[in-house]
């Protein structure tokens, strides 16, 4: 598989994709894609419905393996690693249709995600001695801190399914953060949010970026959000990259305009 040495590409690139393709049968959901996401940036990923954005996330996180090409995180080839191993290397994500642990509490949702970094093995769990109590106390503090930081502290005991939609989205982000990623992938975090909530989300994303030294790659249909907070934007259409640059470059690119006009209104192309 990855026998060739993997030289570190662009200095400062957290994520690098080299000629990555992903096929479903004959359909190329992602085709020959090159992508570099720079450390500390908010990188936007946009494109019409079915462009292959979510598939790209799946390839990065290992949920779908690339049919060809290579994915590198911090210069390390992760193309063929299973999802949990990729998370251990510092990649966490949220899902387009929220995937919380519905029947358990908000607190438990976050604690479950903090689990593997908790630093004790199953045997400690069986015995529950000193080490266990110490590590558990540390996890507990972290979880509460995270919940407080993101205004979910008062919800800690509630079953996550019962939260309002906006808070569910926020909880999913918090849960991803609990694995302490260096690259956070957000799949349409503003979907279903109203304008005020979207503003809140933007503030939140900025705060995450400042507070936790990480990089964000985000898929979004809400152009206002994308244009406002992303330092770099990549546009996909039919699985291929058709444009890359900052907000102005993307806005004025004829290919982008065409891809979106073929679909309808560029300003609001979100699902339903």
């Amino acid at each position: 598989m990855a026998s060739e040495p993997t030289p570190i590409g662009d200095a400062g690139a957290v994520l690098e994709m080299r000629r990555v393709s992903r096929y479903f049968g004959g359909l190329a959901a992602v085709k020959n894609l090159d992508l570099s996401v720079m450390h500390g940036q908010i990188h936007g990923l946009i494109g019409p419905n079915g462009a292959g954005k979510t598939t790209l996330f799946n390839v990065i996180t290992g949920a779908n393996t690339a049919s060809s090409g290579a994915v590198l995180v911090d210069g390390r080839d992760i193309t063929h690693l299973p999802p949990h191993a990729i998370n251990h290397l510092g990649v966490a994500r949220t899902f387009q249709n929220i995937r919380l642990f519905k029947e358990i509490s908000v607190y438990e949702n976050v604690r479950t995600a903090a689990t593997w970094r908790g630093g004790y093995g199953w045997l400690h769990g069986f015995i529950q001695g000193l080490t266990f109590e110490r590590r558990e106390a540390a996890i507990h503090d972290q979880v509460l801190q995270l919940l407080e930081d993101f205004q979910l502290g008062h919800r800690a005991r509630e079953v996550s399914r019962s939260l309002p939609y906006g808070e569910q989205r926020r909880l999913e982000i918090v849960r991803a953060l609990a694995t302490r990623p260096k690259l956070l992938l957000l799949d349409e975090p503003a979907a279903g949010l109203n304008a005020a909530e979207t503003d809140e989300l933007m503030a939140l994303v900025h705060r995450i970026l400042e507070q936790y030294d990480l990089t964000i790659l985000l898929i979004e249909h809400d152009m206002r959000l994308v244009m406002e907070i992303c330092q770099a934007i990549t546009v996909l259409d039919h699985g291929e990259k058709i444009c890359e640059g900052d907000a102005d470059q993307v806005r004025n690119d004829p290919q982008v305009i065409e891809a979106y006009l073929g679909q309808g209104d560029m300003v609001d192309a979100s699902d339903q």
Binding site: R93, F95, T115, F126, E133, H140, R157, A178, T179
Partner: protein, 364 residues
């Protein structure tokens, strides 16, 4: 949960918990035989052993949300392993003479017995692991069918293995599983399952049940967790099976029948799928049920109505579905946390009651 307990409190609670467990073991071991009428002792012993098997199954079916209907087979593997050691190896080691009852109280024999139980658990866990690797890639109904198939394969294999007694199975297994032994085993199993549920493994299991794709994206090695859950679950059931063999005195291939597996599933489901407390109670009740129903012969009309345990099971299941909201996916446990909540509620009620009695000026 929102309030961090002081380490002192934690260790205090731990001590109280351990003491409680010890007392429960003594109560089961010596209290029950002294208090319960002899007629009920045998069914109750079986019910208590079923607790162990059902708690094992609860890990896979309740907590991890997978679906095994093969646990009679895992219990059977434990029973045949432990029973086989006791009937074929022990007599040679301890020079037991045929037709004279062996001395079961010597330390060597007790150690041997504990070792054979453990061996049963380990062999069953190994089979759980083997079954887990290929079948846990399957989901839902397919996994159920695969484990069902495994159980039937084991049954038929044992039926056709003369060395293990063929269809007649193992006989004259020494009756090691006395009440004190059962008491210790049940309490230890509950403690183990409780510890599993309240630490990393339990959290991984629940994550698996709730959303596998989310779980793996959060760094949980789902395939490994599933296989481990299966092995752990089968291992515990295997130890239960070993105890059962040493209580019944014989163990036959029919004891591995899939109907038996369904009964274990019922215990878990009736217990609230995931709740250790619930599964424990359900296993005792359902385990005793068939024997207690023999009493029905005193009431012929009632016996005609519900004389078959399958009828009772069905009714129980229907009732359970009707009051399903009470079960809540095994989220309730008898725990210190729960007792604290209840305590707080009682205190609130009490202050409110007193406040009303003495007028509203009463602050606290």
């Amino acid at each position: 949960m929102d309030r961090r307990l002081e380490p002192k409190t934690i260790y205090g609670l731990k001590l109280v918990g351990l003491l409680g467990m010890g007392l429960s073991a003594v109560a089961i071991g010596y209290g029950i035989p002294a208090v319960v009428p002899p007629f009920h002792l045998e069914p109750l012993a079986l019910g208590l052993i079923y607790v162990i098997i059902a708690l094992g199954l609860n890990i896979v079916n309740g907590q991890a949300g997978q679906f095994s209907i093969g646990h009679a087979a895992f219990a059977g593997i434990g029973a045949y392993t432990a029973g086989g050691l006791s009937t074929m190896v022990a007599p040679r080691v301890f020079h037991w003479q045929p037709n004279t009852p062996p001395d079961l109280d010597s330390p060597g024999v007790i150690l041997f017995f504990m070792g054979s139980l453990l061996a049963g658990g380990i062999v069953a866990a190994f089979f759980g692991y083997l079954v887990g690797i290929p079948t846990l890639r399957l989901r839902g109904d397919y996994l159920a069918i695969a484990t069902l198939g495994f159980g039937e394969i084991m049954r038929v294999t044992l039926e056709n293995t003369p060395a293990l007694g063929g269809p007649l199975g193992l006989h004259d297994i020494p009756k090691f599983s006395t009440y004190p032994v059962i008491g210790i085993a049940v309490v230890l199993t509950i403690l183990l399952c409780r510890n599993i549920a309240t630490s990393v493994p339990g959290r991984c299991f629940v994550a698996l049940r709730e959303d596998e794709i989310a779980a793996e994206s959060l760094g949980i090695a789902t395939t490994k967790v599933k296989v481990n859950a299966m092995a752990l679950s089968a291992g515990i059931a295997g130890i239960g099976g070993g105890l059962l063999a040493h209580r019944l005195g014989s163990y036959m291939p029919v004891d591995l029948n899939w109907i038996k597996s369904v009964e274990f599933v019922l215990m878990v489901v009736l217990g609230g799928s995931g709740s250790i407390t619930g599964t424990t109670l359900a296993a005792i009740v359902l385990g005793m049920l068939p024997h207690e129903m023999l009493q029905l012969t005193k009431f012929p009309w009632l016996q005609k109505l519900i004389g078959n345990k399958m009828v009772v099971y069905s009714v129980l299941l229907i009732v359970m579905m009707l009051v399903r909201s009470l079960w809540l996916k095994g989220s309730w446990e008898l725990s210190f946390e729960w007792m604290r909540q209840v305590g707080r509620k009682v205190r609130d009620l009490w202050t409110r009651y007193r406040g009303r009695g003495e007028g509203s000026a009463d602050g606290e």
